[in-house]
């Protein structure tokens, strides 16, 4: 049920929203650490590395995409956004991929490197990423659920989702690297780069994505996917590095489920193209997933894999 607000709070929200617009636009448009320049002519849209050493595959994928220095500027403060939702096999970002990305950021001259998460220490411990963070000297910033920990950020041109609640901590960084695992999801059938951005919106705000009849009413089901796309319009990852090494194709996102092992790590800027590629690893087509289709329509990236330059590397 919508909460009624008084005039005083309404005014305060307006001021807050206006301030957030300035901050968000400043942050999102002039982010110092991310490289928004046109890619080199010979750079692929997405790079895919296949191999049994997943850390090495992450290095090769990023290298093939142009190298971390193409995406992260020297001295940049970089936030990492891995998926630690569950600790069942094929449900969380592989720790060795997380480690490889930390190392590549450091080699590229990044300043502070930290990980952001709306989940708990138990999740980080269970997925084995807490140990990697500790080994590599990376702080894991667990964002509390309280509203005061988030900044309201308008979503200009949104279809339905008008205001995101982004962790204050996020604004302490110059760039972020999206580090999802691609896998099955019971609600949306697929999760990857686009949906992982829900990790940058408060859990309370994410609840808006689920309308009361989101499981039964086709319009409400679509609402969830449209919200994911709206949310993505305010974020620009400096890079996406996607774990498609061992992934579940059933019982997602929690598992345990049927595990397949494509042994791939995918790197690139185009979230839609990456998701379009990854969805095929689950035996689906890009147009089967509404968020991919809608994101393509909103010009967030290319859905048609025939138009995407994919560079595959092995070894």
């Amino acid at each position: 049920m919508p909460k009624k607000i008084g005039r005083r709070e309404f005014m305060a929200r307006g001021v807050r929203a206006g301030l957030a617009t300035v901050l968000a636009n400043d942050f999102l448009a002039t982010v110092r650490g991310g490289l928004w320049a046109a890619p080199a002519a010979d750079a692929p849209d997405i790079a895919v590395a296949t191999g049994g050493d997943y850390g090495a595959a992450a290095f090769r994928a990023v290298e093939a995409a142009g190298g971390m220095a193409r995406f992260i500027k020297k001295g940049a403060r970089v936030a990492l956004l891995p998926n630690v939702q569950s600790r069942h096999p094929g449900t969380y970002t592989n720790p060795e991929i997380f480690r490889a990305v930390i190392k590549m950021c450091r080699e590229a001259g990044a300043g502070e490197v930290a990980a952001l998460s709306l989940l708990t220490q138990q999740h980080w411990d269970g997925a084995g990423l807490a140990r990697v963070a500790q080994d590599e000297g990376v702080a894991v910033k667990l964002i509390p659920a309280e509203e005061v920990e988030y900044k309201a950020v308008p979503v200009p041109g949104s279809a339905v989702f008008r205001e995101a609640m982004v962790p204050n901590e996020f604004f302490n960084y110059d760039a972020y690297i999206n580090l999802p695992i691609t896998k099955d999801h019971i609600g949306t059938r697929f999760t990857g780069t686009l949906k992982n951005h829900m990790g940058l919106n408060s859990r309370a705000s994410n609840r808006f994505f689920h309308k009361p009849n989101w499981k039964t009413d086709p319009a409400d089901i679509e609402h969830l996917e449209v919200c994911i796309v709206d949310l993505n319009t305010i974020f620009k990852p400096a890079l996406n590095v996607v774990d498609a090494t061992e992934i579940i194709t059933t019982n997602g996102p929690m598992g345990p489920g049927e595990l397949v092992k494509p042994m791939k790590v995918i790197a690139g800027l185009d979230r839609v193209a990456i998701d379009a590629y990854c969805v095929t690893l689950l035996g689906l087509k890009p147009r089967d997933i509404l968020s991919i289709q809608k994101a393509s329509e909103r010009k967030l990236g290319e859905l048609d894999l025939k138009k995407v330059k994919v560079q595959e590397v092995r070894g």
């Binding site: 939702q85 569950s86 069942h88 019971i186 609600g187 059938r189 499981k215 039964t216 086709p218 996102p253």
Partner: protein, 331 residues
């Protein structure tokens, strides 16, 4: 968002039952489509901790760390994004305990208490696939590559290994057997599920459903248009052909669901070729999936195929026979 009330627990009868002050509505989100105005009454929960194997119960495996319990909406903390399907079937609580062997291999045991045996059976069918092998545990079990599920009464047990090594899979089996010995419950498969032709369960496993999330995950056609129901059972009578039989709480509710489905499929732009007759309709979607629907003696049956459904009269006859034989117990 409903908040779980402060919970104090009282142990009764040698650790089998716990009474939680509060109400059913406080602690157990009602499955969709179920009456939500149940009178407030103390909720009696199982003492799930008593089902956990202790140190020495399973040679070579010991508990690692403490057990964690999540009740009601706390499930979202444990499995954010995956909790909805448990709630759809009817979730009460889960206990999670890790085990470790001398080589530091780890297993995770989860014991879910569902609202009733039908809910436990349903989530069991949802989580299992025909890839696995049958495991003689509880009221039914299945071992898959690296994990095992079984249901027993209102409990669903999931044991997950973290690799497919014989040592891990052996540990998964032995932990599951030890839990089975500790659970003093029994349950029956829901009669509606038992009526489904058993030989159709082989291709994709029989699925017992209690809500639209389960239905959506059966076939992409239901992501574009859903159907309302209280319980459903599904299986694959032939390669590429899915049969789903649904019913409402009353015959009238089933008929209303049928007429709503007619309106939905006929007006949804994702479907074309809609044709209807007395108690039946058919359509196809833009991905080339075909769907036929028929009212069968108080049930709504759907047949979905990846190609035209001509020549399916044999399947319809089996369904008519299976679901018309005897009066079904009320929900």
């Amino acid at each position: 968002m409903r908040r779980r009330s402060a919970i104090a627990v009282l142990c009764l009868s040698s650790g089998v039952l716990w009474i939680v002050p509060g109400t059913v509505a406080d602690c157990v989100p009602a499955p969709s489509g179920r009456p939500q105005s149940a009178p407030a009454k103390p909720l009696v929960l199982l003492d799930l901790a008593s089902f956990l194997p202790r140190d020495g119960d399973v040679p070579g495996w010991s508990p690692k760390g403490g057990a964690l319990v999540y009740r009601g909406e706390d499930l979202f903390t444990y499995i954010d994004g995956g909790a909805d399907v448990y709630n759809e079937y009817g979730f009460r609580q889960v206990v999670v305990q890790d085990y470790e062997d001398s080589a530091q291999r780890t297993l995770t045991l989860e014991v879910f208490e569902m609202t009733d045996a039908a809910a436990a059976f349903g989530i069991f069918t949802f989580k299992t696939s025909p890839r696995g092998t049958e495991a003689a545990l509880g009221d039914g079990g299945r071992l898959e590559d690296y994990y095992l599920n079984f249901w027993k009464g209102s409990a669903l047990v999931t044991v997950t290994g973290f690799d497919e090594s014989p040592e891990s899979v052996g540990g998964v089996r032995r932990i599951a057997e030890a839990v089975d010995r500790r659970i003093p419950l029994r349950g029956e498969k829901p009669p509606f599920a038992a009526a489904f032709p058993p030989d159709w369960a082989g291709r994709g496993g029989l699925k017992y459903l209690r809500g639209p999330l389960g239905l959506r995950n059966l076939h992409p056609v239901f992501a574009r248009q859903t159907v309302r129901f209280r319980e459903a059972v599904a299986g694959w009578p032939a390669d590429g052909r899915l049969a789903v039989v649904l019913r409402g709480q009353t015959e009238l509710e089933t008929k209303t669901a049928f007429s709503d489905a007619q309106k939905g499929f006929s007006s949804n732009p994702a479907f074309s070729g809609y044709q209807a007759g007395e108690g039946r309709f058919e359509a196809q979607d833009s991905r080339g999936h075909f769907i036929q629907a028929r009212l069968l003696d108080g049930c709504l049956a759907l047949l979905v195929g990846n190609e035209e459904l001509s020549g399916s009269e044999g399947i319809w006859e089996r369904l008519r026979g299976a679901f018309s034989r005897k009066p079904r117990p009320a929900l």
